[in-house]
Amino acid sequence: MTLHIDMQVTAGEFRLSVTETLPMDGCTAVFGPSGAGKSTLLRGLAGFQFATGRIQCEETVWLDSSRGTDMPSHTRRLGYVFQQGQLFPHLNVEGNLRYAQRRASAAASMQWDRVVKALELDAMLARKVQTLSGGERQRVALGRALLSAPRLLLLDEPLSALDNQRKAEILPFLERAKDEFRLPMLYVSHSLDEVTRLADRVLVLAGGEVKALGETVAILERLDVQSLTGTFEAGAIVTATVFGHDQTRLLTSLRFGDAVITMPLLLHISPGQSVRLRIRSRDVAIALQRPEGISIRNVVAARILDVVSDPASPYSEVLLETGSEHLRARITRAAAEDLDLNPGLRVYALIKSVALGKPDI
């Protein structure tokens, strides 16, 4: 079961050209800098934007310009979650949800209870959509899309209009929707945090072209992809196992590769469970000896795999290996040269901060 895309969109000076086959399961993140064409790709798939080429979703041909086929959006059976929710202002929350339910097949309309329960919409059914907070609005938008019983869910930066706290509130609902309804999802985002937590695979888009497609962990480690995503947010993803909570110091210890690190208490994860951690390059420094008298507590022995320097940038990217896991560090090019960092060298990675990624089951 696949989504076959061979699509071109021209909008003024901008041209998007994507030829790719995506599996119709799990969450595929569409990732890239702004102006890369991420939303254009989704709008083309949805039929909101004029596109040429060929799109085939499972056995249904949505678009085939060579044969003049262009299925209208409302027959493509896709769910779309917009940046701003786009709830109908003349209907209340329940009205918005029923709007979708009434137009879905009879079997799909049985989903009502499941959706309302999973997204905890019960208490807000009678509310006007104008009174919803940004996070609540996106929850209703997600529920409405699920109730239309789509076979593919397209999410266009559904969290970008929210502040960090609201994002943190709604991410668990997105995860739950993904696990509970097992819908294939295409998730547009320029936030590595969201991608790390939700995506099974990542399609990297820049300048209207696909730069990479692969498993989330592998993609987010690749140096060439990092340079596209902007060094500010670049980082690595490691899988770590929780082995203990320190209730007095409010810290959780985790093991990955040969290393043990601590991070602020994660009480909802029990010892023995695995989590994905994202460690940003700019939060990793490198020392040749294990440093003494320093406030950074997460010091990990590692081996350098690669050093990438760009003469146009003051920074170098260093790819490190510890056990089977990889780390990335962003240091100045001057430091890399002075310390004579080369592949094979054994160093210590100093990790300033760690973020929680998608839970592994």
């Binding site: 949805a46 209208p72 409302h74 059976r77 896709l78 769910g79 786009q86 003349h90 709007y99």
Partner: protein, 227 residues
């Protein structure tokens, strides 16, 4: 029939003419306004110009062409006589035809403005939920343009009440058939019955003021809701 009887017949006739015209235009102008609000075709400005013509043309120009069109010697007028046995000129139906043309911009323009304010993304949202374009128009665009519909209907009704030149040309002054209040007022003045003219003119001023106030109040509430 007494003087008051004459006037009340004219008032009833005017209300009937304005009501029928509003209903006909509601049906005809809604698809046109929707097309004008959404279309990006090159010839759209020309369609807009034709729609707005009755705003700037002297009513006598419209009346003149309608007289030619309604004449039993013309294709339409002739067919009408063959079909119904009566002429379009100097008849109520003829007045409805004329009023529909004359008041067209008053229905189309508020509707077009209201439709243009409907966010395209809401229509995309509706189609992603399985709504056909017609479904989305009825269930999303029309409810959101509700105030536009109210303004358009009120303005059309009032403008038809104020019609004079076209009526005079194609309708004449047949009591109960084409003799609307603006004609009655004209005849009062012609026959120097200034007391009655005063009363009727004042009535029309008050009516128009109430109508326009209603429209502006509606628009103000609309702006508040958007803000």
């Amino acid at each position: 029939m007494g003087l008051m009887g004459d006037l009340s017949t004219a008032i009833v006739l005017t209300a009937k003419l304005a009501g029928v015209t509003t209903l006909v235009l509601l049906v005809m102008a809604t698809p046109l306004a929707w097309w004008l609000a959404r279309s990006k075709r090159w010839f759209k400005p020309f369609v807009e110009a034709v729609t707005a013509l009755p705003l700037v043309l002297p009513p006598t120009v419209l009346g003149f062409y309608l007289l030619l069109l309604f004449s039993p010697d013309s294709t339409l007028g002739g067919a009408w006589v063959d079909f119904t046995g009566s002429t379009l000129t100097f008849s109520f139906i003829g007045l409805v035809f004329a009023s529909v043309l004359y008041s067209l911009p008053f229905m189309v323009q508020p509707l077009q403005t209201a439709f243009e304010a409907v966010d395209e993304e809401l229509l995309n949202a509706a189609s992603s939920l399985g709504a056909s374009p017609f479904d989305a128009f009825v269930t999303v665009a029309c409810p959101l343009a509700l105030r536009g519909f109210l303004s358009a209907c009120i303005l059309t009704f009032a403008h038809t009440v104020g019609e004079f030149g076209v009526v005079l040309m194609v309708g004449g002054s047949l009591p109960g058939e084409t003799r609307v209040i603006s004609i009655v007022l004209y005849e009062y003045v012609e026959t120097l019955r200034f007391d009655e003219a005063h009363d009727l003119a004042l009535l029309l001023v008050v009516f128009s003021f109430v109508v326009l106030s209603t429209v502006y109040l509606l628009n103000r509430r609309l702006r508040f809701r958007i803000a």
